[in-house]
C-alpha cells in the first residue's frame, strides 16, 4: 500500500495537466469534479497511508524513489518521496483542508470566468505544496517551494483585469523572492560544505561535522530561516500577506491554512537538527515569532476589511508557531499548525460566504446583524473565532496554544518574556477575533444580505467546524508516556523540548492563559456590543488617530521599505538612465548583428563559391595539421 505514495502529489498535478490542456472545452461540472476529485483522491490515499502508519508505530518511514534525473560524477539528483510522521501530518492537513476548499470553490466560483484556470492553478498549488512536503532532498523541496510561489502569484492576481490585483501578486512574488534567494544560497552552502542535499543524510552529516554553535552552522541556519520568514510572512518580510487578499477568498484560505505560509514552519521543523546546532538563530526565531504575533495581532485589531483582519491574524498565528519552533517545542508548532489550518480555513471560507452574501463587500462596518440571515455561517464562524481565540477546554486552538505557552515558559530556551508576549498575544487575538464576530454578525442589520450559501459551500464549513473542535483530541494524554498524543505521534521525528525546570506551575499558566482569552472576548463585547460609541471615540482622539493609522498600515513597514529600498533603487535607476550596463549587452548585440551580416555575405548561393569554401577549408586544415 505504501507504493501508492507517489499518487499523493501526482493526482493534483495530473488534475492540473488535464485542466490546462483541456479545461476550456470541458463543462464546468466536469472541471469542478476533476479539480476537487484529484485532491480528494490524494486525501483518501494519505488517509490510507496514515492508517498503515498507526499500526506500525512512530518510527515508521516510507521512501519511494521515483527516478533519477541525471548522473554526472557525484551529482545525481534523484527524485524520491519521503514520508514520516512530520510529513504525514502535513500531507493529511494539506489534502483534507485542500479538498474542502476545492469543494467550497465549486460554489464560490460558479459565476466567475476563468473557472477551469482557477481550478488548474489551485490543483497545481496543492500539488506543489505536496511535492515540497514529501521531498526527500532539498532540491525537490525547493522545486515545490518555487512552485508554491508561482501559484500564489498566479492566484493572487487571478482577477488580473484589475491592475491592483496584479500589483498585489507581484508584491507577494517579489518579497517572498527575497527569502527564496537566501534559501537558495543556503542550499548551495549546505551542498558545498556537506556534499549532499538529501535531507536525512544532510542532518546526519551536519550533526557529525559541525559542532553546536559553529559559525558555518549559524550562517546556514540563518539563510534557511530567511527563506522561511519570507514564505511564512514573518517580520520583516510580512508585508506581502495582507495584500495577498486580492485573490479570490478560497485562494486566501488555501494560502493561509494549508499551503504556502506554513511552508516556512515545515522547513524549520524538517531541518530542526540544523537549527539546534545554531542556538543564536533559534533564539532569533523565538524573538521574531513573539514580535510578529504581537505586531500583527495589533494590526488585525484595527482593520476594516474582513479578509485583512484574517490575514493579520494568520501572520500573528504563524508567529506563535515560530515562537514554538524557537523554544524547541517542535511538535507544539506542528500541533498549532494543524489546529490553525482547520479554524483559519473555516474562518476564511465563512468570510467568503459573507462576502458573497454581501455582493463582494469587504468592509465589516458595512455589515452587521447577519446572525439571523446566515445561521450556518454564523455558528460555524463562531466556532472558528472561539478556536482562534483559544477559548478554554472546548476548542482545539486552546490546547495547541496552551502547549506553546507552557513550553515557552518551561523550555530550556524559553523565558518569562516570551511567555508574557504569548499571553498578551492571546488577549489581543481574542479581542480582534470577537470584534470581527460581533461587528459582522451582531448589532443592527445595515444592508440587505443574501442568506446562507448552498450545500457545497456550507458542508465544508460544517466539516471544518467539527475538525476545529475535534482536533483538540490530539491533545489527550497518551496513557503510556503521559505526553500528548500529537507529541507522541511526532516523537520519532521531532524531539521533545528540553524542560528547564520540572516544577512548572502548569495550573497557574493555564489559568492566566484562559483569563487572557476570556478577557479579550469580554473586552470585545464591551467595546463593540455594549458601548460601540466608546470605541469610536477612542479612535477620534489625536493619539488614538495616529496609533490607529500606524496599526492600520501594518506598522508602516511598506513606507519604510519604500524609503529604504525602493527610493534608493529608483534613484540609482535615474542615475543609470543611459543604462551603462545595458550598453555592454547592446554592444554585444550590435557586434552579433555585424558578424551576422558579414557571415551572411558568404552565403552567396553560388555553388562555385561554396566549393571555394571547401578548398579554403582544406588548405587551412592541411596547414594546421601538417605545418603547425
Amino acid at each position: 500500500m505504501t507504493d501508492l505514495l507517489w499518487l499523493i502529489p501526482f493526482m493534483p498535478i495530473a488534475g492540473f495537466t488535464v485542466l490546462v490542456l483541456a479545461g476550456s472545452r470541458l463543462p464546468r461540472s466536469v472541471t469542478g469534479t476533476i479539480g476537487t476529485g484529484t485532491v480528494g483522491l490524494s486525501a483518501v490515499v494519505s488517509m490510507l497511508l496514515a492508517a498503515g502508519f498507526g499500526v506500525k508505530g512512530d518510527g515508521y518511514v516510507v521512501t519511494q524513489t521515483l527516478w533519477q534525473w541525471l548522473s554526472v560524477g557525484d551529482f545525481s539528483p534523484r527524485f524520491s518521496l519521503y514520508l514520516d510522521a512530520l510529513s504525514l501530518v502535513m500531507v493529511l492537513v494539506i489534502t483534507c483542508v485542500g479538498f474542502l476548499i476545492h469543494l467550497y470553490s465549486i460554489g464560490f466560483m460558479k459565476n466567475e470566468e476563468g473557472y477551469s484556470r482557477f481550478f488548474a492553478y489551485m490543483n497545481l498549488f496543492v500539488g506543489s505544496m505536496l511535492v515540497l512536503v514529501l521531498a526527500d532532498n532539498l532540491v525537490s523541496l525547493y522545486l515545490g517551494w518555487e512552485g508554491v510561489g508561482l501559484c500564489s502569484y498566479l492566484l493572487i492576481g487571478f482577477w488580473y483585469r484589475d491592475s491592483a490585483n496584479g500589483y498585489a501578486a507581484r508584491k507577494a512574488f517579489v518579497i517572498t523572492r527575497v527569502g527564496d534567494t537566501a534559501l537558495a544560497v543556503g542550499l548551495f552552502l549546505l551542498f558545498t560544505n556537506l556534499g549532499t542535499l538529501q535531507i536525512q543524510e544532510l542532518m546526519q552529516r551536519a550533526q557529525a561535522e559541525w559542532p553546536a554553535g559553529s559559525k558555518i552552522a549559524v550562517i546556514a541556519a540563518a539563510l534557511l530561516l530567511a527563506g522561511a520568514i519570507g514564505k511564512s510572512a514573518q517580520l520583516p518580510l510580512q508585508t506581502w500577506l495582507p495584500d495577498a487578499m486580492a485573490g479570490p477568498t478560497p485562494v486566501s484560505a488555501l494560502i493561509h491554512a494549508a499551503t504556502m505560509v506554513t511552508a516556512g514552519v515545515y522547513l524549520i521543523a524538517r531541518t530542526h537538527v540544523l537549527f539546534t546546532l545554531a542556538p543564536p538563530v533559534q533564539s532569533a526565531i523565538a524573538i521574531i515569532g513573539a514580535a510578529t504575533l504581537l505586531l500583527a495581532g495589533l494590526s488585525a485589531f484595527v482593520q476594516r476589511d474582513i479578509k485583512r483582519v484574517l490575514a493579520y491574524s494568520t501572520i500573528s498565528q504563524i508567529g506563535y508557531m515560530f515562537l514554538a519552533l524557537g523554544v524547541g517545542a517542535w511538535s507544539a508548532a506542528l500541533f498549532h499548525f494543524m489546529t490553525h489550518a482547520f479554524f483559519k480555513a473555516l474562518l476564511f471560507l465563512g468570510a467568503g460566504a459573507v462576502i458573497l452574501a454581501m455582493d463582494h463587500e469587504h468592509d465589516i462596518f458595512k455589515m452587521g446583524g447577519l446572525r439571523s440571515r446566515m445561521p450556518v455561517t454564523f455558528w460555524t464562524f463562531l466556532i472558528g473565532v472561539a478556536s482562534l481565540s483559544a477559548l478554554p477546554f472546548v476548542t482545539s486552538g486552546f490546547y495547541s496554544k496552551d502547549l506553546i505557552l507552557k513550553l515557552a515558559w518551561s523550555s530550556e530556551r524559553g523565558s518569562v518574556w516570551l511567555w508574557a508576549a504569548g499571553v498578551a498575544g492571546a488577549f489581543i487575538t481574542s479581542l480582534y477575533a470577537f470584534r470581527l464576530l460581533f461587528v459582522v454578525f451582531f448589532g443592527d442589520r445595515l444592508t440587505r444580505a443574501k442568506s446562507d450559501p448552498g450545500i457545497s459551500m456550507t458542508a465544508p464549513l460544517v466539516v471544518l467546524a467539527a475538525l476545529s473542535v475535534a482536533a483538540g483530541l490530539a491533545a489527550l494524554p497518551e496513557p503510556a508516556s503521559g505526553r500528548q498524543a500529537i507529541q507522541q505521534f511526532l516523537s520519532g521525528v521531532l524531539p521533545a523540548a528540553h524542560i528547564r525546570d520540572e516544577r512548572t506551575p502548569e495550573l497557574f499558566l493555564l489559568l492566566i492563559a484562559s483569563c487572557a482569552s476570556i478577557g479579550g472576548m469580554l473586552a470585545a463585547w464591551l467595546l463593540y456590543v455594549l458601548f460601540p460609541r466608546y470605541a469610536e471615540g477612542l479612535v477620534q482622539t489625536r493619539a488614538g488617530r495616529s496609533v490607529h493609522r500606524l496599526l492600520f498600515t501594518g506598522w508602516g513597514f511598506d513606507r519604510i521599505y519604500d524609503r529604504l529600498f525602493a527610493g534608493p533603487f529608483l534613484w540609482l535607476t535615474r542615475i543609470n538612465r543611459d543604462d551603462f550596463i545595458d550598453l555592454v549587452y547592446e554592444g554585444a548585440a550590435w557586434y552579433s548583428g555585424v558578424f551576422h551580416h558579414l557571415l551572411g555575405l558568404t552565403q552567396t548561393g553560388k555553388v562555385r563559391w561554396y566549393a571555394f569554401g571547401i578548398g579554403l577549408g582544406a588548405i587551412i586544415t592541411i596547414g594546421i595539421a601538417v605545418f603547425l
Partner: protein
C-alpha cells in the same frame, strides 16, 4: 627516372589542363580521354594491368560516352561556345587558380618531405585483385552493387521525361 612515366605524366597534365580550359565541350571530352589514356599507361607502369584496362574500358569507354550522349541530347550550338568564352575570363579563373596552386604546393611539399619511397615494382596481377574482390572484399562488392542501384534509381527518376510536370513547364 623512368622515361615512359615522365612522358605519360606530361601528357596527362597537359591534356588535363586543356580539358579545363576548352570552350567546346566535345573538345574538352576528347582531351579528357587522352588524359585518361595516359593515366592508364601509368597504371600499367605501376604493375596494375587490370586497372589499366578498366581505366580505358569503363572510364574512357563508358563514362565518357555518357557525357557525349548528354551533350548530344542538349544539342549545344555555337552560341554556347561564345558564352563559354565569356565565362572563362581571367577574373574568373585567377582566384581559383591561386587557391589550387596553394593546395598543390602543400601537397607537393608533403610528398617531398616524406622522401625515399620506392615502389615494390611488383606487378599485382588481375588474379590477385579478383581474389581480393571475392575474398575479404566480398561485402564491398555487394555494397558497390547497392551504390549502383541507388545511382540507377536516382538517374531513372531524375532523367525521366515526366508526363505531368514537363507539360506544366512548357506552358
Amino acid at each position: 627516372m623512368n622515361t615512359p612515366f615522365v612522358i605519360a605524366s606530361v601528357v596527362a597534365v597537359v591534356s588535363t589542363l586543356m580539358v579545363i580550359t576548352r570552350t567546346n565541350v566535345v573538345h574538352a571530352l576528347l582531351y579528357l580521354i587522352v588524359s585518361l589514356l595516359s593515366v592508364s599507361l601509368v597504371f600499367f607502369l605501376l604493375g596494375a594491368p587490370f586497372i589499366a584496362a578498366l581505366e580505358i574500358i569503363i572510364y574512357a569507354g563508358a563514362i565518357m560516352v555518357l557525357f557525349v550522349f548528354v551533350v548530344m541530347m542538349l544539342n549545344l550550338g555555337p552560341q554556347s561556345k561564345t558564352q563559354e568564352r565569356m565565362w572563362l575570363i581571367p577574373e574568373v579563373w585567377t582566384g581559383p587558380a591561386v587557391l589550387a596552386v596553394i593546395l598543390l604546393g602543400e601537397l607537393v611539399y608533403i610528398f617531398a618531405s616524406t622522401g625515399g619511397i620506392t615502389t615494390s615494382g611488383k606487378t599485382v596481377p588481375a588474379g590477385d585483385v579478383g581474389f581480393a574482390l571475392f575474398g575479404p572484399y566480398l561485402l564491398g562488392v555487394e555494397l558497390a552493387s547497392m551504390l549502383l542501384l541507388a545511382g540507377i534509381v536516382g538517374a531513372y527518376h531524375l532523367g525521366r521525361r515526366g508526363n505531368d510536370d514537363e507539360q506544366k513547364e512548357e506552358r
